[in-house]
């Protein structure tokens, strides 16, 4: 990575940081965290064949989509001419001269592609989603238009739930504490935060959250999605503000940004040079027509992106934010509890002071196995949000047993319950992540994302293979979510595995064997250069074992 040219601002920083610019310090940090480089091999004949096979796979993916489209048109024709029963909603015959209610082209994908593979998603489960769960069987007599339960269930390994630290349990200290809170406070709250919905347990929850994150204060909300969509409008409500949002941001962030009357600019995913370019353009040119200065600029990013599993380049972003005077909104939905030595999230992972992030948002749904979200920051910010957030004004606050679940799990992670169970869970998750990713890469799958993120997307290019992968793994008792176009890019349909501290190594081995078997049969092992880092995963497991024996 070449060093950037030293600008006058950098020279000032150099004097401040004792002879090293921020960029140089960052370089050293990056060098520590970069994985060991792949040794360059001469491109031999087999590699050339493999490269060609990648091109062939791409062409065949387009052929696959083309065939699905052609067959879709064919089936539509059959339905129109009456040779096949139409299961979807249709206009009544006597309304044919009126303006049509439905535009049938818009439901083309739903009718002809989604319905055929609908049984791969929305599978009902009937147990707690811990390391294993019971999935109810569904069958269909008319090509997935109507699915019915058979009453039987199948016990599968759960690589689908966002259960990063394994707190999704119905026994244990968290569940007992939640039951006690239910006895004390009841199930519901029946009021908004600003009226009568502010309980002592909410106070305790917010103080614990602030302590956990290392910020001055925190405010919590009952729904994770609503935390974003209700609070970004409260923060960026006025005219003359600018939002810089990553292109792969979650729907809640996009909705929150759109609900304000601000200008939104989108930058390339995790591309700090693009952020800098857009910041400079914004500051130099000012507001669109009047060219006045922007009142404030907010950069909205996530800690771990759930579809890409990439980790945001936080130190670089903080340097840019400080240099250009913008604010930073960090959505740690997937990274809180899952990254860092003590589970404090992406700020601990990079070694960044959490007070540098202006607005730290996160959810309790993933690592804490509860529901709801929080925003942490300075006392001024939190007092403002307590007064002006749409959620505290109109939405009911978090239910007491849910809040208690968060408090108990946070205390376990912080070690405040007197044991090292929290530390054990964090280390187990880290070991599982390293092992799973390393084994998948060795097998030859294309795995996206950062090596430390517990979300593992495996690329399945072709749409038909999405369904086959999901169904085959379901037969082998592994529950995995798959997602394809148009939710992802055309070529990047993927299966997404979510690892958990509740998974033992034997479970992961079983899952990996099933994946390898299905991958061989479906020819999903597209990767050109499987690298091996054999030592690291074993070390992590040894650490976990030693920690477990300390107990």
């Amino acid at each position: 990575m070449p060093l950037p040219r030293l600008t006058p601002g950098d020279r000032l920083e150099q004097r401040r940081h004792g002879g090293r610019t921020c960029a140089q310090a960052l370089q050293e940090r990056f060098a520590q965290l970069r994985p060991t480089p792949v040794t360059a091999r001469k491109v031999g004949f087999t590699t050339k064949i493999k490269k060609m096979s990648q091109e062939v796979t791409q062409c065949l993916t387009y052929v696959n989509y083309g065939m699905l489209t052609l067959f879709g048109y064919f089936r539509d024709y059959l339905r129109k001419s009456g040779l096949e029963t139409t299961h979807s909603a249709i206009e009544r015959k006597k309304m044919k001269d009126f303006v049509p209610l439905y535009q049938s082209f818009e439901s083309f994908v739903t009718r002809n592609i989604y319905m055929r593979i609908r049984d791969c998603g929305n599978r009902p489960i009937c147990s707690v989603p811990s390391a294993e769960f019971d999935v109810l069987e569904m069958v269909s007599d008319d090509g997935n238009w109507h699915l019915r339960l058979t009453g039987k269930s199948r016990r599968c390994v759960n690589v689908a739930s966002y259960n990063y630290l394994g707190f999704a349990e119905n026994t244990g200290p968290c569940a007992d504490a939640a039951a006690k809170a239910l006895q004390q406070y009841g199930a519901g709250v029946c009021s908004t935060r600003q009226e009568l919905g502010h309980y002592s347990i909410h106070e305790e929850l917010e103080q614990t959250t602030a302590r956990f994150l290392g910020v001055e204060d925190a405010v919590t909300f009952g729904m994770g999605f609503a935390t974003n969509s209700m609070n970004i409008p409260a923060l960026m409500g006025g005219k003359g503000c600018l939002i810089l949002s990553d292109e792969k941001n979650h729907a809640s962030l996009v909705l929150g940004a759109r609900l304000c009357s601000t200008v939104i600019k989108v930058f390339k995913h995790n591309d700090m040079e693009d952020v800098e370019r857009k910041l400079r353009e914004a500051i130099i040119h000012g507001q669109p027509r009047t060219h006045r200065a922007w009142r404030k600029i907010l950069i909205i990013v996530e800690g771990i992106y759930s579809m890409e599993a990439s980790i945001i380049k936080l130190p670089d972003l903080i340097r840019l934010k400080k240099k250009y005077g913008a604010y930073l909104y960090l959505d740690e939905a997937h990274s809180i509890g899952a990254l860092g030595q003590t589970g404090r999230g992406v700020t601990e992972y990079w070694g960044v002071d959490p007070r540098d992030v202006d607005i730290m948002m996160g959810t309790f749904t993933k690592s804490f196995a509860a529901a709801g979200g929080y925003i942490g920051g300075s006392k001024r910010l939190i007092n403002y949000l307590r007064a002006y957030s749409h959620s505290t004004t109109y939405a009911c606050s978090m239910a007491a047993p849910v809040a208690q679940q968060v408090i108990s799990s946070m205390k376990i992670i912080m070690g405040e319950d007197g044991t090292n169970r929290g530390q054990l869970r964090i280390k187990q998750l880290a070991a599982n992540t390293k092992y799973f990713r390393q084994r998948l890469v060795e097998m030859g799958f294309i795995v996206y994302g950062n090596d430390d993120s517990p979300i593992v997307p495996v690329i399945i290019c072709m749409p038909a293979k999405i369904a086959a992968f999901s169904r085959e793994l379901h037969q082998q008792n592994v529950g995995v979510p798959v997602v394809g176009f148009p939710a992802t890019r055309l070529m990047e349909s993927r299966a997404r595995f979510c690892l958990s501290a509740a998974h033992t190594r034997e479970m992961l081995d079983k899952v990996l064997d099933a994946i390898s078997d299905v991958g061989d049969r479906l020819q999903l092992k597209y990767s050109l250069n499987p690298t091996t880092k054999a030592a690291s995963a074993e070390e992590c497991y040894k650490q976990v074992d030693s920690l477990a024996h300390e107990e």
Binding site: V63, T110, A251
Partner: protein
């Protein structure tokens, strides 16, 4: 899978899927396969096969890019703005002179040149080739972005 084909993050996939990796190669291969199929039909000579390739390609191009409007999936995020736009108008969110648009503009031109060569500049074939090429090139001009002549295909 996503619920019924809708996307998150609010990007219309129709605007970007033609920028995917390998789409140009696949396009060329698809036209080549079409041509080979037409060449294998016994009663067509080479000139007729080339003209038919050109004409079929242009008609397909016109139908999918300029006749079908909207998207085959639900667009919940843009309040129906793309329902009245053809696929060509949706590419790259309406930005003109992008690489994809240049490629799709050149493809009928190259096919026309090849077809003219292989039909030995015969007048009757020329009429068919030129008319279908104009049919497919004129709607791609930036001046005709959003224009509906005589109200055809407006809603």
């Amino acid at each position: 899978m996503g619920d019924g084909g809708t996307t998150y993050s609010g990007v219309n996939p129709n605007a970007v899927w033609l920028n995917s990796r390998g789409i140009w190669l696949s396009y060329v291969i698809a036209v080549t396969i079409l041509h080979l199929i037409l060449l294998s039909i016994p009663f067509l000579n080479v000139a007729q096969a080339w003209t038919l390739t050109n004409v079929v390609h242009n008609i397909g191009n016109y139908i999918f890019l300029h006749m079908l409007k909207g998207t085959p999936w639900e667009t919940n995020w843009d309040q129906g703005k793309s329902r009245l736009l053809t696929h060509w108008e949706q590419i790259d969110f309406g930005e003109q002179f992008t690489t994809t648009r240049k490629f799709l503009f050149l493809a009928p031109v190259i096919l026309f040149i090849l077809a003219s060569f292989y039909t030995k500049y015969d007048p009757l074939h020329f009429v068919f080739n030129l008319s279908t090429m104009l049919l497919v090139l004129i709607p791609k001009l930036p001046q005709l972005h959003g224009v509906r002549i005589f109200g055809i295909n407006k809603y």
